[in-house]
Symmetry: D2
Subunit: 418 residues, 4 copies
Amino acid sequence: MIHSIVWLKHECTVQTVEGRRNWGILERLNAGEVVIGDGGFVIALEKRGYVKAGPWTPEATVTHPEAVRQLHREFLRAGANVMQTFTFYSSDDKLENRGQSLKYTGAQINEAACDLAKEVASEGDALVAGGVCQTPSYLSCKSETEVKAIFKKQMEVYIKKNVDFLIAEYFEHVEEAEWAVQVLKTGGKPVAASMCIGPEGDMHGVSPAECAVRLVKAGAQIIGVNCHFDPMTCVQAVKMMKAGVEKAGLKAHYMVQPLAYHTPDCNCQGFIDLPEFPFALEPRILTRWDMHKYAREAYKVGIRFIGGCCGFEPYHIRAVAEELAPERGIMPPGSEKHGMWGSALEMHTKPWVRARSRREYWENVMPASGRPKCPSLSTPECWGVTKGHADLLQHKEATSTQEMKHVLEMQKKAKSSA
Amino acid sequence: MIHSIVWLKHECTVQTVEGRRNWGILERLNAGEVVIGDGGFVIALEKRGYVKAGPWTPEATVTHPEAVRQLHREFLRAGANVMQTFTFYSSDDKLENRGQSLKYTGAQINEAACDLAKEVASEGDALVAGGVCQTPSYLSCKSETEVKAIFKKQMEVYIKKNVDFLIAEYFEHVEEAEWAVQVLKTGGKPVAASMCIGPEGDMHGVSPAECAVRLVKAGAQIIGVNCHFDPMTCVQAVKMMKAGVEKAGLKAHYMVQPLAYHTPDCNCQGFIDLPEFPFALEPRILTRWDMHKYAREAYKVGIRFIGGCCGFEPYHIRAVAEELAPERGIMPPGSEKHGMWGSALEMHTKPWVRARSRREYWENVMPASGRPKCPSLSTPECWGVTKGHADLLQHKEATSTQEMKHVLEMQKKAKSSA
Amino acid sequence: MIHSIVWLKHECTVQTVEGRRNWGILERLNAGEVVIGDGGFVIALEKRGYVKAGPWTPEATVTHPEAVRQLHREFLRAGANVMQTFTFYSSDDKLENRGQSLKYTGAQINEAACDLAKEVASEGDALVAGGVCQTPSYLSCKSETEVKAIFKKQMEVYIKKNVDFLIAEYFEHVEEAEWAVQVLKTGGKPVAASMCIGPEGDMHGVSPAECAVRLVKAGAQIIGVNCHFDPMTCVQAVKMMKAGVEKAGLKAHYMVQPLAYHTPDCNCQGFIDLPEFPFALEPRILTRWDMHKYAREAYKVGIRFIGGCCGFEPYHIRAVAEELAPERGIMPPGSEKHGMWGSALEMHTKPWVRARSRREYWENVMPASGRPKCPSLSTPECWGVTKGHADLLQHKEATSTQEMKHVLEMQKKAKSSA
Amino acid sequence: MIHSIVWLKHECTVQTVEGRRNWGILERLNAGEVVIGDGGFVIALEKRGYVKAGPWTPEATVTHPEAVRQLHREFLRAGANVMQTFTFYSSDDKLENRGQSLKYTGAQINEAACDLAKEVASEGDALVAGGVCQTPSYLSCKSETEVKAIFKKQMEVYIKKNVDFLIAEYFEHVEEAEWAVQVLKTGGKPVAASMCIGPEGDMHGVSPAECAVRLVKAGAQIIGVNCHFDPMTCVQAVKMMKAGVEKAGLKAHYMVQPLAYHTPDCNCQGFIDLPEFPFALEPRILTRWDMHKYAREAYKVGIRFIGGCCGFEPYHIRAVAEELAPERGIMPPGSEKHGMWGSALEMHTKPWVRARSRREYWENVMPASGRPKCPSLSTPECWGVTKGHADLLQHKEATSTQEMKHVLEMQKKAKSSA
């Protein structure tokens, strides 16, 4: 059934592709197209051995470009229409935070990231987006001027490299996100803004609706959320943003790039607060079938820029692209190696596995954890520490023994009151 | 503590490396070295978009060599001392089973695989192993002569490409494994034999101890198990094999390359029988901390060739290498991007995450599934269909509608009697 | 420690008991006393063999008075200060609903219930409360006059038997609860009103705060919730009621009598909607230690009439009484057979069980379900059928085959859309 | 369907009842009848407030006879054909163990127990069984003579009160069970012997098969297991006993009286070792539907004396009796208040509950725990302390502070090695 749809639409799609060869992100969204985002780089490359959990910085663009290029290609093959430069946390204040000493500047890392993203994007139907995200400087209560200077420095690389559009993403505080948007707007490219918040709003309690309105007023043409929560929670938060924007009589496009982890037990801080973060999240990883449900729900809500963040592997993005194949009129390249809804299991040698080669089977499977001594939900930490608190001030020096002693005491205290 | 050990041993290790530059697998094992295997290619590359679940064949060596090369590199970086050629299920009878039509012969795929493995192995301290595995022909009751011819054809490529040693792996029936070993022995290289069985033994009920004795008698110098069961179960099965070999007054080296999935609910057929196979296994994925326990246990039991199979990502292999760093006197290259036992979390911006930068925290975490509506164990399917049964006969033609109807009825029947 | 408190307060308590021998419910609450309610009769007696699940009617007061008397005694012994007459669902329209034919009238059953409650109350420090609850007539859209006549008929028995106070409980709709309170007020006894709602409010969406205000305005002196939700959820709902009453500048006493089942997965209809209701709720039963937490929380919120409903066994009530022993200055009689916080385990023959004879152990135990193939949460049914819908109309005749066929179709449909 | 069977058989059943009015336990079993046992007294009466967890002794027969009588009646009503005297742990050495000081002797308690059991048995079709169980004296390494004297003292009460037969139950060591049987045999009544062991055998590692043979050789006519494990595990153990007896060419009848708790995670010591014992076992309680499966399985295995132990409430016994109604030709009296397989839910007011009034629904329900932060399996304690170890020696004095300190250290040590 899907196949015929794809085929029928394919001819006109090919024409469309020709016709829109130079379309940017806004042209695509304005035309009602579904734009598939890419997945998460830091977590995927941490597992592959190229990113250090803790600082989470992207120096691999310089040190191991082949690994970054390969991941870009896999997401492209999975159907992604956006190659985000691998520049997460790549501001100079973050790169040298808490004792991390790298041989490369933010500018070097970001230039290399642009080159890689552009190289791969040119191999398919994808745009390149340069990104900035929240800074230790904001967390450390630096001034608006100081923080904006950091964003400007990063943006200048993206403009020089002529990316297709800009994304301010992974912001916990709407104020800092506004600052970022205001800076990015000066670049003359389309600007998207994405916060890492859930339905409870930002870390200062600003609701998703109000965050959305403020971001649109700051100049963002595309708004949404990324990271920190599971797909359904993120879609819910974007839905609230959309309602806020519409209620305010404003207009925007919407994006969502959630975690690929189930996080029903999170509080407003998201998966950072879960005791499993970041090294024991495995049991929470979404299946491809969960992704079908996510893509469908995001589409229903009116979101048209649909991608992923931490935890999203290429096959997760492919599942999003396969679910929306009827709407998009095209299957992702990577589906040549994937039977829709498990249909290629018909080629398995074992008869009981062949019997699983169908949608009804996979839509209804309730996957066991294989860990009977573990719970299904955790109690998130909730230290009540927000921006301004001494424990959130950052510094260049390594975390001191004194600081470590202090946080261990805090941890013990938090646990006993849970 | 670990650091000092590594450092102290490092000098002599470097010397050793020089001294044993040409050591093969047997020299290493005879000298008491720990040899780290690589992880699983089919599952990892399926998620990356290059292997089709169902046939599970490795034509990517020809079609997407950069993807295969990159995965080899990641395992090498994670500490692997063996690069297995990506030649799983790459016998001609399997490549064209049930309607799969590929443009490449087994020989073409296997040659490309050897080239990739050798290229990457030369970048570090690794050996290349060429492998054969069970065949549809055996399952379809073909003769010993016919089955052996298939193994011979594959082996000839490995000999031509001059790999370091040979592995007969993923055998459910000891009889077929013996045939494979007998053929591989003619190649003049060291031979390892690894069955995909658990403590209950092979599909005909032959115990691990007896399987072990028969494999050693057939000529295998290294024996063990791979795939189908979780690490602790596989270690247990190898322990039983070792006891059998010792009781018989024989000698062997031991290897283990288990799943990276928790499978406490499996029966003798392993994870194939779990309802989550192959598309909903995510919640069962082991954490890196689980891998520390596995590596330690395997070492204690006396196994010295320790690697992984389906589900093992590079960070899993790195965890094995890190756990055994004191014994090996060396840390894997990839650990430059990994704080031992989470120590790099000291560089995290959030104080409660910095508090997790220690071994005691991660050793005791009980990871939640985030899926409260799912169970922790499943009921494996148990059709009672073994070699010789009509439903296990294979053929070149695609699975027919009639066959599909039949297996769906079988599935329904099996479920109602569960 | 607890013991000394109890002892110290005991003397004055005895005096107080003398002094307040004739105190009613309001005198006790006005004086700030904690009043312990009893537990659930229908579920406990169903398990003992005297109540039929389905109709859930209390004819056992006539047919098996010794069983009802014994349960009263157990709750008295556990510390209950209120003996509720076992008159649940004992209105004539309910007693003959859907084909149930009993030999006894509502009046006969209720008179017997009063006699039993009074007999046992006189054996200790307890008051007798006569109760009415929601009616099939209201659900079937009968008029206010008709419904009020039903309450009046029941009340007349309680007045004749001279109970100490009246309770209108287990109402899903605040309108019907108001009618009940208005009728009960004519009896000249103190009136309590308790709805079976959670934080989402009644079945028509009236919030707990508004329900509370309306009940107080109707004349209830004590208000709260009972049944349908677990203790913490019920306490939360009463907290919302209290906030509503205080915001409206009104005054009331508060009561809570929750389920003894964990129900985090309920929607507004409560445990009725859970697929486990009523015959597979076992895994959800609260431990005595859960009850300690409940009692403490209810007390903190300002609730002073604290009891239980379905699922509460005598030992649950005893745990409530033990937790509040310091405040009440007295331990329940039944504690002679219970070591506070497990202390009597010191007398166990096994040393590892003796090691469990302490509060810290039991406060932190995380009890396993022993059911690894079952989930931890369910999906409640949600048919969207409310008062006025044809499927909720009741009748004297037995449920017809046609009706059963219809509900099975509804069930199938609901499941597929879950 | 069941109803017609019951009705058809009823006439002949009545005749049979007349004809066998004086049949004892052996006549019934010899005739192939199914004998339903009663449920657990200590746990049920602990929850009702009459037994102290820790010593677990039955002085309630003297102090609260009405509570004991009521529970007997409930089990009789549920279908039990055996009233076991409530004399568990009622040997003088146990009654005064570890500082417990009671006003009553074992003889007084046991005489009262006999009177109560006989009174209720006479109200229906039930036999009275007097019981002895393991002693602190055996655990404390007293001599065979001393231990046998304890059994003799208890038996003399039963003979004086003329019970119908004798049961030696709840023995962890077959040696002590043999001693008990040898003593009981001198009473001239039929003797049953039941050990609290699972498939791993007794605490000294004696297999179920060997235990069985030794008990039969000691003179027991009925053998089996009770307590310590869940129904399916106990049935499995009895199956092994039966195989042992048959292999030895001996003959016996078989009995099983398991826990009403799911215990898949137990080791050989049974539920005593679970961290939830005895105050957090609630989530493990079996549903009535679990009991149907148990009764059917026990019957299939050839067990004909089928009852329950700790955790069995009257409704559990009723479920056993209902499942075996076709074989027995009679429904239990208590079923007048129970719709077979939930059929009485047809009288419920809510349509979605009426839809649950059928066997298929309840047979397939997978009950959620409602505790998402708890695991599904626990790690049993395993101190490795067996008879002879100083920690298992008992004494009259209360457990000393020194002893408590010691066991807490042991507990901590055991936990860290788990």
